[in-house]
C-alpha cells in the first residue's frame, strides 16, 4: 500500500540531516501526536513569522520536527550527534504518526 506521505531528502547544506515530508494532516494534531509518541519528553516552541505559525517539536540530541512551516509539510532535522538507530527511529515515529492520522 502506498504510504500517505512523500519524502524529499535535502541535497544541500543539511545533506543527510534534513527531510521534508508532505502529507495531509492537521498541524496541531500532528504536533500533539508527536509529543505523545515521545511520552511528552519533548521541548515545544511556537514560532510566529508573518502569518505563519510553526510548531517546533524537539527531542533533545535526537531530532527536531517543524510542523506548519508550509501547508501540508513537516520537516524532520536530525541532530548531528544522533546515532543511525536514533535517526531511523525518528523517521519511524513521524511516518507512523502521519499514517495513523491519515487513517
Amino acid at each position: 500500500m502506498k504510504p500517505p506521505f512523500e519524502v524529499e531528502r535535502d541535497a544541500r547544506c543539511q545533506r543527510g540531516l534534513r527531510f521534508l515530508y508532505r502529507a495531509r494532516f492537521d498541524p496541531d494534531a500532528l504536533a500533539d501526536a508527536l509529543d505523545a509518541a515521545y511520552d511528552g519528553m519533548v521541548v515545544r516552541h511556537v514560532e510566529a513569522l508573518g502569518d505563519t505559525r510553526t510548531e517546533r517539536v524537539i527531542v533533545q540530541f535526537q531530532v527536531e520536527y517543524r510542523v506548519g512551516e508550509r501547508e501540508g509539510e513537516v520537516s524532520l532535522t536530525h541532530r548531528v550527534s544522533a546515532s543511525p538507530e536514533i535517526r531511523a527511529r525518528s523517521h519511524r515515529v513521524l511516518e507512523d504518526t502521519l499514517t495513523r492520522l491519515a487513517a
Binding site: 535535502d10 541535497a11 544541500r12 547544506c13 543539511q14 545533506r15 543527510g16 540531516l17 534534513r18 516552541h45 514560532e47 510566529a48 513569522l49 508573518g50 502569518d51 505563519t52 510553526t54 524537539i58 533533545q60 540530541f61 527536531e64 517543524r66 512551516e69 508550509r70 509539510e73 520537516s75 532535522t77 541532530r79 548531528v80 550527534s81
Partner: protein
C-alpha cells in the same frame, strides 16, 4: 536553555556585537569553501593564521564577557567561553581537561568538525577544526589572564576526519610579539544611511522586525540549522583577518589578482548557498515572498534579509534586469580592514562583490523564484553561463570612500 554569554549590542548600520566583537552570519558552505580556498596554496602558513585569528577574537570577546558577568575564576570564565561557543553556533566545548598548564579540550559537537563535511560531501584528509583550536587557546588564555597567543593548539582527534568526538591539545608557549590583535568594532561610518529604495513592494522594516523575532542562537548541540543551511554567528574580525592575510601572502608570491578572484568566488558560493537557501526557505515564504510582486522585488527582498546578517547596510541604488548597483555602509570587510591595516589602495570587499553578483545570478539566470534544486550542477550552470553577472568594486570604505559600491553587470 540558559546560557551565560557576553552582552549583545545592536549598533548602527545593522551591526551586532557580542562583548565588543562584531558578529556576522555565514553558513557551513561558505565556511567550507573559504577555508578550502585559503588552504589550497601550500606554503602560505594559513593554518596558523586561521588558528591565531580565532584565538585573538575569542580572547577579546571572552575577556570582555567575563568583565560584564563579574567572573574572575578560570572555571567561571571557561563556562562563559563554552556558552558563547554554543550560542554562536560553533558547537559544544568541554574545558574540564584543561588548566593553566594546558591540557585537553573536547568538542562533542563542532560546526567545523561536523558541518563542513555536509558541504564537502566527504571526510577530510586534514583536520578542519582550526577555528575550534584557536577558540580553545584564546579562551584558556583569557581564563588565566594571559595574552591571546599564550597557548599552542593542535588536533588530537578530528571529527572532520571521522572521530566521534573532537579533541584539542593545548600547551603553554611564549606569546609571539607580533600576535594578531582583533580590532573590535573598528572604524565605522558616521551619519545616516539613505532609506530603502522606493522602487519595490518589499517593506524592509517589516522584514527586519519579523526576523528579529527568530531565535538565531545555537540549539542544545550548539549548532544553528536554519534556512536550509547551518549557520554560525561568527567573528567578523576572524573572516577579515584570514581573508586579508591570504591576499597579502598571495601578493608576496605575485598572485594578488588571483587571490582576490578566489575570495570573490567564495562570495559566489556564499550567495548561492546562503542566499539561495534563504530564498527557498519556509521563512522566506512566510515573510518576504508575499511581498514580491515583481522579479526585482526578489532582489530587494534578499537585500532586506542581508541587512539582518550583520554585514552592514546594503542599499539598492540601481536595478535593471542586466545591472545592479549596491551601496554598502559599514560593510564588515572594510571596517575590519581599516581596523587591522589602515586605509587600503585597493578594493577589499570581495565577499560583498561576490554576494551582489551572486544574488543577480540567482534571481535572473538562476530563476530562484521557480525553486530550482541548488546543487553543484546548478551552480556550474548559472555561474558559468554566458548570462552570468560579474561584479566590479567601484568604491570602498576601506579606501576612504563614504560607502562601498559594487556594480554587477552581464
Amino acid at each position: 536553555m540558559t546560557r551565560e554569554t557576553g552582552d549583545v549590542t545592536r549598533v548602527d548600520h545593522g551591526r551586532t556585537l557580542m562583548s565588543g566583537e562584531p558578529l556576522v552570519f555565514h553558513c557551513n558552505h561558505y565556511n567550507y569553501w573559504l577555508q578550502k580556498t585559503l588552504l589550497l596554496p601550500e606554503g602560505l602558513g594559513m593554518r596558523a593564521v586561521i588558528r591565531d585569528a580565532a584565538s585573538s577574537a575569542a580572547h577579546a570577546m571572552i575577556t570582555q564577557a567575563a568583565r560584564e558577568r563579574g567572573a574572575t575564576e578560570p572555571a567561571e570564565i571557561l563556562r562563559i567561553a563554552a556558552d558563547c561557543f554554543s550560542a554562536l553556533g560553533f558547537g559544544t566545548m568541554d574545558f574540564s581537561g584543561a588548566g593553566e598548564a594546558g591540557g585537553a579540550v573536547r568538542t562533542p559537537t563542532s560546526h567545523y568538525g561536523q558541518c563542513l563535511r555536509m558541504a564537502s560531501g566527504a571526510d577530510f584528509a586534514e583536520p578542519q577544526e582550526l577555528f575550534d583550536q584557536g577558540y580553545a587557546a584564546g579562551a584558556l588564555a583569557a581564563a588565566h589572564g594571559r595574552p591571546a597567543g599564550s597557548y599552542a593548539a593542535r588536533s588530537e582527534a578530528s571529527q572532520s576526519m571521522g572521530a566521534e568526538v573532537g579533541e584539542i591539545a593545548l600547551a603553554p608557549r611564549e606569546a609571539p610579539a607580533d600576535f594578531f590583535t582583533a580590532p573590535g568594532r573598528g572604524p565605522h561610518a558616521a551619519g545616516d544611511v539613505p532609506p530603502q529604495s522606493p522602487d519595490t513592494n518589499v517593506d524592509e522594516g517589516a522584514v527586519l522586525s519579523a526576523l528579529a523575532g527568530l531565535d538565531l542562537s545555537g540549539n542544545e548541540e550548539g549548532l544553528l540549522p536554519r534556512f536550509g543551511v547551518i549557520l554560525t554567528n561568527h567573528f567578523a574580525n576572524f573572516y577579515d583577518r584570514i581573508s586579508f592575510e591570504f591576499v597579502r601572502r598571495m601578493d608576496g608570491t605575485g598572485m594578488l589578482d588571483m587571490a582576490e578572484e578566489l575570495l570573490v568566488e567564495a562570495g559566489y558560493r556564499c550567495a548561492f548557498n546562503t542566499f539561495g537557501g534563504i530564498m527557498t526557505s519556509a521563512e522566506w515564504d512566510a515573510v518576504v515572498k508575499p511581498q514580491c510582486k515583481t522579479t526585482e522585488d526578489w532582489v530587494h527582498g534578499m537585500v532586506a534579509v542581508a541587512n539582518a546578517l550583520g554585514w552592514g547596510v546594503w542599499r539598492v541604488h540601481e536595478l535593471t534586469p542586466s545591472r545592479l548597483v549596491v551601496r554598502i555602509w559599514d560593510d564588515y570587510e572594510s571596517t575590519g580592514y581599516l581596523g587591522m591595516y589602515g586605509e587600503s589602495d585597493r578594493f577589499v570587499s570581495h565577499l560583498a562583490a561576490g554576494g551582489v553578483a551572486g544574488l543577480m545570478n540567482l534571481v535572473y539566470p538562476g530563476r530562484i523564484a521557480e525553486r530550482p534544486t541548488l546543487d553543484a550542477e546548478y551552480y556550474a550552470r548559472i555561474f558559468e553561463s554566458p548570462e552570468r553577472f560579474e561584479p566590479r568594486g567601484v568604491k570602498c570604505m576601506a579606501s576612504g570612500d563614504a560607502y562601498t559600491e559594487v556594480v554587477a553587470e552581464r
